[in-house]
Symmetry: C2
Subunit: 338 residues, 2 copies
């Protein structure tokens, strides 16, 4: 396989010159440049990225570790949507994505250490930020560019993009309350996810505002899977009296919940109202179409990339922390109380 050496020899120049031509890193006479370009073409030469990275200390690669907790990539969660937008956007800056899997919760840091200390990437995007998230302190201490999707309660200043989950849930609750519901259930995310807190806050706040009592029996924490939603809903339907509406912290769980309700013979949107959170593609295609809180996930991916690339380039971020407002998307899974 041809190396820069071969190209240099063929073009009758030094390897330094070839490098300069490739990287536009010094003036080279047009005539010489043409000779080099020709040689490159002749050999179908492509620089060895590994050697290049070693010397230049840049890899053109961004790390994304799939968290063990959300490795339900086989379900249509927001994560695959996010990944799609990240891949799309990073391509625009000529970055590839290095995808790693973290096995267990305990081994959470292992892939980061390998990838960061091993200098395999120029920066990291972290998702599913948790309360007391260890990754944040680590990445800060290693001084590697990174951006998080989601805030955390670590007392550290770090760049992130997040969605105002409290406002989102509040909107959904507002909508349900306006439909006349007073007994509204809530299916929340695992409490280790920091965003679970905000969403619950939105629920409580909306109730309080209307002078409704918070009933712990109506609040359930479930796994972020369809099965998780399914089980939580079954429990809620067994409460006496059952809720007439349920606010659910993720679409995925909402799908499971819908199934549970349908199994009980309930017509969704008539006998029970459901609001989801995320607005994944499928929300518009399930039956009935799901009323939900839209997270602008594509935009989030784009922002994460853009911010990270800026950090990698050593530029200063104009906005180091971004919180986006989610939006209520009304479809057909809710109806007035009967």
């Amino acid at each position: 396989m041809a190396t820069i050496k071969d190209v240099a020899k063929r073009a009758g120049v030094s390897i330094g010159t070839v490098s300069h031509v490739i990287n536009n890193t010094a003036a080279v006479r047009n005539e010489t440049k043409d000779r080099v370009l020709k040689a490159i073409k002749e050999f179908d030469y492509q620089p060895n990225s590994v050697a290049r990275s070693l010397r230049s200390r840049r890899t053109g690669t961004i790390s994304l570790v799939l968290p063990a907790i959300e490795r339900s990539m086989d379900e249509p969660s927001y994560l695959s949507d996010l990944l799609a937008s990240i891949v799309d956007e990073s391509k625009r800056y000529n970055f590839d994505i290095l995808l790693s899997a973290s096995s267990s919760e305990e081994e959470e840091m292992t892939p980061y250490k390998r990838v960061v200390k091993g200098k395999m990437v120029d920066g990291c995007i972290i998702t599913c930020t948790k309360r007391n998230d260890k990754r944040i302190a680590y990445l800060l201490s290693e001084n590697i560019p990174f951006v998080a999707f989601g805030r955390s309660n670590v007392g550290l200043d770090f760049p992130y993009v997040d969605v105002d989950g409290e406002a989102g849930v509040y909107q959904g609750m507002h909508y349900l309350l306006d439909l006349g519901h007073t007994r509204i259930g809530f299916i929340g995310l695992p409490s280790e996810l920091f965003c679970s807190e905000h969403r619950l806050k939105g629920y409580r706040f909306a109730l309080k505002e209307r002078g409704l009592k918070f009933d712990p029996a109506l609040v359930i924490e479930g796994k972020t899977t369809q099965t998780g939603g399914y089980r939580s809903m079954k429990k809620l339907l067994n409460v006496d009296p059952p809720p007439t509406a349920v606010m659910i912290s993720s679409d995925l769980m909402a799908f499971g919940a819908m199934k549970a309700a349908q199994e009980e013979g309930l017509i969704i949107g008539r006998d029970i109202s459901i609001v989801g959170f995320d607005d994944v593609q499928m929300a518009n295609n399930c039956h009935p179409p799901l009323t939900t809180i839209r997270q602008p996930i594509y935009k989030i991916g784009v922002l994460l990339c853009q911010m990270l690339v800026q950090l990698i380039r050593g530029e200063k971020l104009s906005e180091r922390q971004i919180i986006l407002l989610p939006e209520l998307i009304v479809r057909e899974s809710c109806g007035p109380i009967r």
Copy 2:
């Protein structure tokens, strides 16, 4: 940041010894080994993967390029399911996944060249094999390990895993025919995808076997998106007389088709029967649950990884070509003809 040099100095040995300790590549006295290990721990040393790759010509990374044609990762297609299983399985062999995006159809080869010639990966997994797929010849010529998901019509011997699409569609058709349907529509994949052929073959064969005439008006080729399925279904419903059942080449399209049918006021499973293909998670959660042909996508991802790892290790494959049988999953989207 500590390098192998620092570790060597601290442990009072040569860097070669440190390397041997790390890689278990030569006998080193226990006492010495302990000293080295201690130094490694003290520095929290992690070898620089880039340098390591340059020298050893191994990267521990597998390439996956998201094809432009299927960059509908933002829809719950089989691709995200497949990716999930690949990430999972590759982790078991300590490989990371390098995810690249190919922009346009013309630029299809660019990422492969960069990644393969640039020596960024040890092997490739390619998906969405097309008729006359250029990638296959290229990867063979570059002599880099790779495995394809899907056959192709290039006259070349290459390792792949595929699903018997013909048999799959045949099963679905059989089921519909047994329900009494005789006017059955078919929504196929874009003809550039090689697998589109097999599926259509299954359709034709099933008809022929029952002595039914093939009606071109009932066969439509659509894009592999929900919208694609939606549009194709609208067209089919305008045929006179319309089909009473439709065999659809992907679940994603089936979801769109269901929406189209529901918009026309049809009850799926009663007024019209629909069979999908893939069995993505959502198929079990849409309404009504979709009868479909299951591709064992998780298993496919696992096989692809295993085969690729074997090739990377220079081992010979026991089975160089694997064709899996899909399975009919009966749910509620079909009913007897009325």
